[in-house]
Every structure is written in structure tokens, then in C-alpha cells.
């Protein structure tokens, strides 16, 4: 069965890729399985300069999920290009670079830096970072700021730009439409929901950063809803993510309207999850009557309701 999917800039052998921040720059998982099996790899967020990130603890466990507040730790875009991308260039897998920043200028500079490598096949624009200049409002929660940063990044990018949407918004459709009109080639959704856990013994938030991003199966219904909603409002492709643990979950995302999917938290539970899901996907597609991945995309929008039956 064909698992192939073609998206702007990305010829994917299958729709499965590790999500940004959950797979580093591939080295560690590369010791565990052959990365050539993957549809693509989304690398950890890059900022202009090296960043240490937040204090620890940086992760907490929640019911069917986890919180993280890594704080965009990374060696800076130039170090990534010089020291991390050459390793990934050995593989026959498209690399998607996650670009972060706290000002439009930083997003532009990071994107520009990536133009000097041919290893990166697409940009994932991470607009969930706070906009320092505008007083900490997230680019990801204001349609105008989001459109602005998308437009400016598109001007300098030599590869397609996928804008990664934050779910912490009142109107996800408005965000999607704003970045689509600003020229986004695709969407990537969803990033984490902002959450907190308070430790009863220490009587304070468990994460040193206080709040963290909620990921894992807990947020899957929110991801599915947002993708379903956005799919009806835009025509650019969607890389879906949020709580995927199984090949069935992948199909649910495809039905909702995702063209490909990314897997984050599940890697921590099972380092082999990506290749395992790739292996199981054809069987699941067949079981539910699909001949290819392409065939299933958006099919959750068509069918009439069928009643429960306990036969």
C-alpha cells in the first residue's frame, strides 16, 4: 500500500514524523532505529543565539499527558547548521526546521540562516513564543501578529513555510485563515495547551517555570476538533499532531483533515513508536477501507451519521 504523501517542499514516503522538541536533532533516536524509515524529521526549535532554556524541573506528568517547559533550549541556528544538520544529511529523509524567536526580526534571521543549507526542506514557524516587543503577547494568539510574522518569513525563506498554530486561542479558524492569507504553505497543529501542576508538598508549581505545555493523549480531542474546524476554512495542507499513540490515532487525524502527522510525547514512552506506527498503518488503513493515506485525508467530513449497533 502506498503511504506516500506530497506536500509543499516535502515528498514523504509516509506521513509519520517526529514532532519538534521531542526528537532533538535525531542523534539519540538514530542510535535506536534507522531514521530512514521516517516520513520526515522536525528538528528542535532554533533561535538566533544559543539558549539555555528554563530552570529544572522542566517536565511533569499529568493524566494521559505531560507538561513541559524546556524553554527553547538550543545551540543557536548557526551551530545547528554546522554541527547537527550534517548528521541528518546522511539520511534520505526530509528535514523540517522549527523556527522560534521573540521578535519578527529574530524569526527572519533564523529563517535566513537556514537558506545556507540545502538539508532543510521546509520551515515550521513556531509562533507560540511570546513577542517580547509587544509585551509578551504570543504571536500565536493574535491573527495580525501571526500574519505579519508569516509574511515576513515567507519573504526570506527559500523553502515552504508551515505555520505551527497554538491551541490557546479563542478562534483557531481565524488564526489559520490569517496565516494562509499571509502566504503560509501549510499549517502544523497543534502545539501544546498551557497548563500547570502544583506540587502538594512544596506548595508551589512543580515546574520551575510554573506553567508548561500540555501534550499527549489528553489533548487529542482538542487537536482533532481544531484540525476539523480549520480544514473547513483553509485549503493549505495540515501536519496534525497532539496525543498520537497508535496507527488508529493517525487515521483519526487523517479523517479530521491532516495530510501528515507528527508524534511527540509518545516517543518518550516508546522510542520505537514512529517506526512501529509506520509498520502498522497499512493494516489499519485497510481495515477501515482505505487504499492509501491520500485516500483517507479529510474523509471524516463526508459521511452521514450511522447509529450505534451492538450486533
Amino acid at each position: 500500500m502506498s503511504l506516500q504523501i506530497n506536500l509543499p517542499g516535502l515528498a514523504l514516503k509516509n506521513p509519520i514524523m517526529p514532532a519538534s522538541g521531542c526528537f532533538g536533532f535525531g542523534r539519540e533516536y538514530g542510535e535506536v532505529f534507522d531514521l530512514n524509515q521516517l516520513g520526515a524529521i522536525i528538528i528542535k526549535a532554533a533561535t538566533k543565539e544559543e539558549r539555555y532554556g528554563n530552570q529544572t524541573p522542566r517536565v511533569a506528568e499529568t493524566s494521559s499527558g505531560m507538561l513541559n517547559a524546556i524553554g527553547l533550549q538550543n545551540p543557536g541556528v548557526n551551530n545547528i547548521i554546522d554541527n547537527e544538520l550534517p548528521f541528518l544529511a546522511n539520511y534520505d529523509v526530509p528535514i523540517i526546521a522549527n523556527v522560534a524567536g521573540s521578535s519578527v526580526e529574530e524569526y527572519i534571521e533564523v529563517t535566513k540562516a537556514f537558506t545556507r543549507t540545502s538539508t532543510v526542506k521546509a520551515i515550521e514557524l513556531n509562533i507560540s513564543c511570546p513577542n517580547v516587543k509587544e509585551g509578551g503577547i504570543q504571536f500565536g494568539t493574535d491573527p495580525e501578529l501571526a500574519a505579519e510574522v508569516t509574511r515576513r518569513v515567507k519573504e526570506v525563506s527559500h523553502v515552504p513555510v508551515y505555520v505551527k498554530l497554538s491551541p490557546n486561542v479563542s478562534n483557531i479558524g481565524a488564526m489559520a485563515k490569517a496565516v494562509e492569507s499571509a502566504g503560509a504553505d501549510g499549517l502544523s497543529m497543534i502545539n501544546t495547551l498551557t497548563g500547570m501542576q502544583i506540587n502538594l508538598s512544596s506548595k508551589r508549581p512543580l515546574l520551575a517555570n510554573k506553567t508548561g505545555g500540555l501534550s499527549g493523549p489528553a489533548i487529542k480531542p482538542v487537536a482533532i476538533r481544531m484540525i476539523y474546524e480549520v480544514k473547513q476554512q483553509v485549503s493549505i495542507p495540515i501536519i496534525g499532531m497532539g496525543g498520537i499513540m497508535t496507527a488508529e490515532d493517525v487515521l483519526e487525524f487523517l479523517l479530521a483533515g491532516a495530510n501528515a502527522v507528527a508524534i511527540g510525547t509518545a516517543n518518550f514512552n516508546n522510542p520505537f513508536i514512529c517506526p512501529e506506527i509506520i509498520g502498522e498503518l497499512p493494516g489499519v488503513l485497510t481495515k477501515y477501507g482505505f487504499d492509501s493515506v491520500e485516500d483517507a485525508i479529510g474523509k471524516g467530513h463526508e459521511h452521514g451519521y450511522t447509529y450505534l449497533s451492538r450486533t
Partner: protein, 256 residues
């Protein structure tokens, strides 16, 4: 190389209050496991306990291809682990991290200082040091009598001082009190325990060569997620990943 394997629980014993010793039989060769390394155990399913739990390797039996772990029940994951019975299979990443680099260490007299549930990794270390002919002295601290374990096991490899916070077993006080009161001769020290204890020990022994083992909440356990970093002490803004570069570090290598 870390591998993911199903390990069968072949023995399980309560050895102190809420403290369980388990022997796990590997399905993949365990010979490379070193003292100080840990296993990363899947204690849940896809909806509960998403994150694996790091537990130190307390002993390795290469003949039987088993490893021993000792853990204290402190939350939902260790409680889940406690409920497992002999014959159950556990999904384990093994061995993780870097252990105590004793192979090329010119140590002749070693001092081991453990606190509470930081004691387990020191056991396999003591055993290995002893096998290499290193003289081993240990100081083990526990809260109270009910928490003490492995006293006689450590005595097999050399003298072992036990302290408890309330004096209900061994000496009353902290591990550092033993350093003050006894004149222990050693060239290297190895310590594992709560951060407060590691700080006190590092301060007291600041002119000594030694290794400490530290902990942090982990995501991946293999170096990919940057959850478990610790800044290095060299003012360079550098950092180490506890899961991959540690959990064992040279004393003063990282900021406690």
C-alpha cells in the same frame, strides 16, 4: 547501546519500609551495564503514567543475566511497580546514562556515601570496586530504622557506617557527621543521594577527588528532550544532560 527489552520479574522482596528489591531477567545481553547507570521503566500504559521511571541499577548478575533494582514507593509510578508480581514482564530501556568511570581510575581506597534511595547504585559500585581490589568504606544515611536496607550487604565489601536522622539505627545524625567523627582514609569518594546531602558532602570534601550521582525529572531518558539538563560549573554557560552525560558526574563538574 541502550536497548528496549521486556524483562521478567524473577524475584521481589520488601527490604525496608515501602522499599522493594526486584530482580529482572533480561532478554538481551546485560553485560555492558555499569554501576551508576540506570534503567528507564515503563510503568503505565498509553494513558496512565506516560513517562518512564528512572531507577538505578543496584546489581548485575552476569551469569544469570539479571539486574537488581531497589525502589521506594513515593508516587503513582512506583506504586504501580510495587503492584507487579513475579512473572510479570516490564518494558525497560537498559542500560541508560554513564556510570562511575572506575575502570581506569587509580583508586585504592574508596569512600561511598549514600543517602536513602541513593544507596542502591552504590551497592553494585562497592561490589565492582571490591572485585578490583579497592578497599571500600561506606557511609549510608537513612531517615529512620524502618528505612534501612543492605547494611550487611555493604559490610561484605568493607566497613559500613549507618546513620539515621533519629538515631533509631546506627549513629544519630547525618552522613557528614561520620566524616567529622571518623578518620576515614580514601583517595576517591562516590556519592549518591538527595541534593542537600550531595551539596554537604561536596562542600566537606571539596579538596578530594570524587563522583556524585544526581537526579532530575526526565522525559525521554536518552538525551533527546532536554528535560534533565544541569549547568556545568565552568562558567561557560554549558550544560550536561543527566540522562545521557550523567547521572554520574565528577564532583564540582555540574552545579548542584
Amino acid at each position: 547501546m541502550i536497548n528496549k527489552q521486556m524483562m521478567t520479574i524473577v524475584a521481589k522482596d520488601d527490604i525496608a519500609k515501602d522499599t522493594i528489591e526486584m530482580k529482572l531477567l533480561g532478554s538481551v545481553n546485560l553485560n555492558s551495564a555499569e554501576p551508576g547507570q540506570f534503567v528507564h521503566i515503563n510503568v503505565g500504559n498509553s494513558t496512565s503514567n506516560m513517562l518512564r521511571r528512572p531507577i538505578s541499577i543496584a546489581d548485575v548478575n552476569k551469569d544469570q543475566q539479571t539486574i537488581t533494582i531497589i525502589f521506594k514507593v513515593i508516587g503513582s509510578g512506583t506504586d504501580q511497580l510495587r503492584k507487579c508480581v513475579i512473572g510479570d514482564d516490564l518494558d525497560v530501556l537498559v542500560p541508560c546514562g554513564k556510570g562511575y568511570p572506575i575502570d581506569n581510575l587509580p583508586a585504592t581506597r574508596a569512600l561511598l556515601i549514600g543517602g536513602g534511595i541513593g544507596v542502591p547504585p552504590l551497592y553494585y559500585l562497592a561490589k565492582q570496586l571490591h572485585e578490583k581490589g579497592v578497599e571500600v568504606t561506606s557511609i549510608l544515611g537513612f531517615q529512620t530504622k524502618d528505612n534501612v536496607f543492605y547494611h550487611s550487604e555493604f559490610e561484605e565489601f568493607g566497613s559500613c557506617h549507618i546513620v539515621t536522622d533519629d538515631g533509631s539505627y546506627g549513629f544519630k545524625g547525618y552522613v557528614t557527621d561520620v566524616l567529622d567523627n571518623e578518620n576515614i582514609d580514601f583517595d576517591y569518594f562516590f556519592s549518591c543521594g538527595p541534593t542537600g546531602m550531595l551539596k554537604a558532602v561536596s562542600n566537606k570534601l571539596e579538596h578530594k577527588k570524587g563522583y556524585i550521582s544526581i537526579e532530575q525529572r526526565m522525559g525521554c531518558g536518552i538525551g533527546a528532550c532536554y528535560a534533565c539538563v544541569v549547568p556545568t560549573n565552568d562558567q561557560s554557560g554549558g550544560f550536561k544532560k543527566i540522562c545521557k552525560d550523567g547521572p554520574v558526574f565528577r564532583v564540582n563538574e555540574v552545579v548542584l
